[in-house]
């Protein structure tokens, strides 16, 4: 069974704007998928529905066997614990250092201190920030802040990592570092869904690419297909 299964998903905002219409999509476990398209094409709405920040107006979204679209507001945390989310603006706690920002996700569940320490150190090693653990977000570069956010997203060992334009605020070199980290995480078996505007990255990585426009899937490129396209 696919990890993510969307059937006839439609999202109309209260303002009357139709962001997503009749969307059918299936993503398998272990895939690395880019979602691209012009601004306002519905790609952000799509992934916001995946981690249940938005509810579809109609249709079904099943994530790892759980019907996310039917999940009640006070049960959302159950799905959030199984996925990691990374944003363009990092969303770090300014008053907490790198270690605390990552540990935060584990402390909520009441894990023993030693286990939290082990997991946080492992996650920070993976993103290459072990020696920055004591620094606060305002002492870090954009790339380091994003790597902190990635460490926080993966510290729970999620099956799915959702990235909403994670390189949107970063220069090219830093973006490549972030992508390298994401690839590393993908290699360890995590499914990655990433929304991006950066076509260079998409072309270089040769992964599956979903091109959206006006709330629909315009094309679904298999691995490597997009690089040869002249779009």
């Amino acid at each position: 069974m696919a990890l993510i299964e969307l059937t006839k998903v439609k999202k109309i905002y209260k303002s009357g704007v139709t962001a997503v219409q009749e969307l059918n999509l299936s993503i398998e476990r272990g895939e690395f998928v880019f979602v691209i398209g012009p601004t306002g094409c519905g790609k952000s709405t799509l992934i916001r529905m995946l981690y249940r920040e938005e509810k579809p107006s109609s249709g079904r979204i099943v994530l790892g066997g759980v019907e996310v679209s039917k999940l009640r507001n006070n049960k959302v945390f159950k799905i959030r614990r199984k996925i990691g989310v990374v944003f363009q603006d990092f969303k770090l706690l300014e008053g907490a250092n790198v270690y605390e920002n990552v540990a935060f996700a584990l402390e909520i569940f009441g894990l023993p201190k030693a286990e939290i320490h082990n997991r946080v150190v492992k996650a920070l090693e993976l993103v290459g920030l072990k020696n920055r653990a004591k620094n606060y977000p305002n002492q870090l570069s954009g790339g380091e802040q994003q790597r902190t956010a990635i460490a926080r997203a993966i510290v729970n060992d999620p099956k799915l990592l959702i990235c909403d334009e994670p390189t949107g605020n970063l220069d090219e070199e830093t973006s490549q570092e972030i992508i390298a980290v994401l690839e590393e995480i993908h290699k360890m078996g995590t499914t990655v869904v990433m929304v991006t505007h950066d076509r260079d990255i998409v072309k270089r990585l040769k992964k599956r690419v979903i091109l959206m426009d006006a709330g629909r899937v315009l094309r679904d490129f298999k691995e490597g297909e997009y690089a040869n396209e002249n779009v």
């Binding site: 507001n73 006070n74 706690l93 935060f104 909520i108 009441g110 023993p112 729970n156």
Partner: protein, 300 residues
């Protein structure tokens, strides 16, 4: 499982402490608003209880003085006593002969002692009296009239007019202060809840991140509720200190010159009871205010 719960509880308490400290200026705003309103609540509570107490004390001292006609024999006095005793509203009855009254006067004042010393028992220009206390002060006028109608009774006196007026005033003050206390508690709740709402609004990002990493609504609320608890406790410290100090000072200060009819409630355990009430109001309102304020940020 139990260990896990303890760890979560401990973390919540620690985080609540930390965030009171980290968001110090906003915490200070909440604490100040709690402090000010609790001070006013304390003032109203003390006023209400003292008005009630004074009224009670006064009520206990109200009595009807029954003057027996001159020249009435002992037998008739006993008869009058029996007649007064059977009246429903009469609680206690005490006979005071004119000789006894004269002795009382003489003991009280040297001038009287000198004047009255030379008088024979028959020359004393005073009357035998009964001192009557009643069960229901509101019915005192009616009871005095009934006693007045008894044969052999010359007159009754209880301060007609003044007693009624005094009780009227007390009733108004009592009702007004109860209404004021209730209104104040509601205003406190509203004020505190609003201040905490502002505090939490500034931390919606933190709430958003907590949700994002998989915190349940309860996980998110509990630290804020603990924080509300701390704010309530901190906000209650100054009002409690002022209440204890100011009330004790007021109690030791001789008020009888300014307000002779006022009797203050003894400070122990009164001030501690008031302090307890202030602490409870602070804590409950702080916790409830936080709970409600976070709730608004947990809907998608």
């Amino acid at each position: 499982m139990l260990m896990k719960m303890f760890r979560i509880l401990f973390r919540n308490i620690r985080d609540a402490f930390k965030s009171v400290w980290r968001n110090f200026s906003l915490s200070l705003a909440s604490i100040t608003s709690i402090t000010i309103t609790l001070l006013v609540v304390a003032f109203s509570l003390i006023l209400t209880f003292n008005v009630n107490y004074t009224a009670e004390m006064l009520a206990q001292n109200i009595e009807i003085v029954v003057f027996v006609e001159k020249g009435v024999e002992q037998e008739e006095i006993t008869e009058i006593e029996n007649k007064i005793t059977v009246i429903d509203n009469v609680a206690t009855l005490e006979f005071k002969s004119r000789v006894a009254i004269a002795e009382e006067y003489m003991a009280d004042s040297e001038v009287f002692a000198v004047i009255m010393e030379g008088w024979d028992e028959d020359e004393i220009p005073l009357q035998d009296t009964f001192i009557v206390r009643v069960n229901d002060n509101e019915e005192i006028g009616k009871t005095a009239d009934e006693i007045g109608d008894i044969e052999g009774v010359a007159a009754t006196n209880y301060g007609r007019g003044m007693v009624e007026q005094l009780f009227g005033v007390f009733e108004i003050v009592q009702t007004a202060s109860v209404v004021a206390v209730v209104a104040l508690i509601l205003v406190t709740a509203f004020l505190i809840s609003n201040t905490i709402k502002i505090t939490i609004f500034s931390r919606r990002r933190e709430i958003e991140i907590m949700r994002l990493v998989g915190a349940s609504n309860l996980n998110i609320k509990i630290p804020f509720v603990f924080e509300g608890l701390f704010l309530g406790v901190l906000g209650a410290i100054i009002p409690i200190a002022i209440t204890i100090y100011a009330y004790n000072s007021l109690y030791t200060y001789d008020l009888s010159m300014i307000m002779p009819i006022v009797t203050l409630v003894s400070p122990e355990p009164f001030v501690y009871q008031i302090s307890g009430v202030l602490l409870i109001i602070g804590v409950v309102v702080g916790m409830f205010g936080s709970w409600r304020a976070v709730q608004r940020h947990l809907r998608i």
